[in-house]
Symmetry: C2
Subunit: 341 residues, 2 copies
């Protein structure tokens, strides 16, 4: 079977490998689709070389079908359509003992810290599997992981019907958060400088504003009757975006920290104090988030067709990464691993 390997130095290479037989408690999957995530771009650029063992098969957003099951596997049979929740936890650290396994102190993120899905055949522990309903396309199923991120973020943000929500950053995760917040009954504005991304937001029925036009504070003030927004999701990873989110919030509003700020960044703690704001960190997802993500996809709540910009075969992984790096005209790119299986 064919696998795409991140080989360091911003390169990928394609190799033929024998498929790994499933051991006890494992399942071998025929991979259908793999989404390329912002984290995968960071890996390509060497930013995560401390965690990735080169050469590495990466990829953690996927769908597929069960090809074979190992000893002791009860719940799954060949032909079952599945996605993978790519987290493995220790079960013993204080976070696990407290019930927060998804942020285990020694969390293994599958596809970063261990081998991922960008290959035709992938063998994983059965406990990572999440079933896909019969009517859901495998292309849509590959979005379950990023949708689960959005579901977790919206849940951590405590969004309730009728609330006004600002999403700062209109990339794939930002737009998914917006869609999930709308599904939760919120009224949503997306703040995004990139006109292509704003155009997608508008096509999804969202209201999109451009931070460069200088009118955003006045627009939000009018929208909220001078109160400020109930919740703001910081998905931009920029100091300017963080400031937009912080200054937009009402008294006791919630700022959900979704983006990764790898260095400490200036935060207006005076505003946090003055308005009694709440900042909430949100990382990955828990199993109920993943299951709800599959449900939202199955219900058609997530506009899959608008979000998937391109589908490329496995042997075009390098080109797919380059298209994403161009940063315009592209939202989510899927790798189709099915040819030649």
């Amino acid at each position: 079977m064919l696998a795409a390997l991140y080989a360091g130095d911003q390169t990928f290479r394609l190799e033929q490998h024998p498929a790994r037989l499933p051991g006890p408690g494992e399942v071998r999957l025929d991979v259908a689709y793999v989404g390329i995530c912002g984290t995968d771009l960071h890996i390509k650029h060497g930013a995560m070389d401390r965690r990735v063992t080169i050469p590495a098969v990466i990829g953690h957003e996927m769908s597929g079908t069960v090809a074979a099951v190992g000893e002791g596997v009860r719940g799954w049979s060949p032909g079952d359509r599945v996605t993978v929740m790519p987290l493995e936890w220790c079960g013993r650290c204080p976070a696990c003992v407290a019930g927060h396994q998804h942020v285990c102190h020694d969390l293994v993120f599958v596809g970063i810290d261990s081998a991922g899905a960008m290959q035709q055949s992938w063998t994983v522990p059965e406990r990572l599997l999440v079933g896909l309903p019969p009517g859901l396309g495998l292309d849509a199923g590959a979005l379950a992981e990023p949708v689960a991120v959005a579901v977790h973020d919206v849940r951590r943000g405590g969004v309730v019907p009728g609330e006004r929500v600002l999403v700062v950053g209109g990339g794939p995760i930002g737009l998914l958060i917006a869609c999930v917040a709308v599904a939760a009954g919120a009224d949503v504005v997306v703040c995004e400088p990139n006109p292509y991304r704003r155009s997608i937001a508008v096509r999804l029925g969202l209201r999109a504003v451009d931070p460069a036009d200088g009118e955003v504070p006045a627009t939000l003030d009018t929208w909220t009757g001078g109160a400020g927004v109930d919740a703001a999701f910081e998905v931009s990873g920029s100091v300017a975006g963080l400031d937009t989110a912080t200054s937009a919030l009402r008294v006791r509003g919630r700022l959900i920290v979704v983006a990764i700020h790898s260095q400490p960044v200036p935060v207006d703690l005076f505003r946090v104090f003055w308005r009694e704001l709440v900042l909430v960190g949100a990382r990955v997802y828990e199993r109920p988030d993943f299951e709800k993500a599959v449900k939202l996809l199955d219900e058609g709540v997530i506009p899959v067709a608008e979000l998937i910009s391109a589908v490329e075969p496995l042997d075009r992984v390098p080109a797919a990464f380059e298209a994403l790096e161009s940063g315009t005209g592209v939202m989510k790119v899927l790798i189709d691993c099915q040819a030649g299986q």
Copy 2:
């Protein structure tokens, strides 16, 4: 009656004024004690000249007795022992309408934005009064306001029995937070560089650590079995203190932002994301906090005698501020306004 006026340029002057008769809905108080707060020091140093109308009677931590009541006042009679909750709100802004009057968009903080208590006679709206129980000393009663701050902070922090709590900053508010957290059933460590303040913490039965000794992270790690603390109160106003609090927290721990950081400061948002931390702004108090503060004082939970370093007469206001500015050997200073009333 004698009044101490902040006259700008880091100076106070003493003046004789006629006592103001209470208008409808007002009460004239014979002031007993007034505590000097960190905010009063900021006022003296000109940092709040935009809010203070010079010359100004300042002071917002007080106790006293009702001397006379204006037309329509029903609930109070001469001789009643009281303290004042020094907040006036508009009742119409979005924060007030949402029930968060204590952080009204147009909040008037009495003693900063309007005349305060550092005078022998003070006339205020009756709605600001909070009664003091018969057995509570008027010196202790003057601590109701800062204790109410601590009660509010601990409530915003959601501290529950058995939790491990770090208080970063061992000045008056930090130590009051520590005492209130202990009363709420928490196990508390205070982190404070000043040896005098640490000695007071120890006299209060608290565990105190010195951030300069480099062992604080290891001490907290051992204390919490590697998990991290449940809640950390940032009362230092320093970047180093903020870092100590952020890095000490367990997964989903709460960081309560109590101190005023007047400029944006670097915050480790990666840690906030990675551990799903929650940062909570906490400002002033609501009436139930004030009433609980009086109750805790009445129950003897707050070690008043250890916290009051000195009591000075009204004509020694300048000297009292200088003693506080020296920064050592002094915790809370009260001004006694009773002489010559």
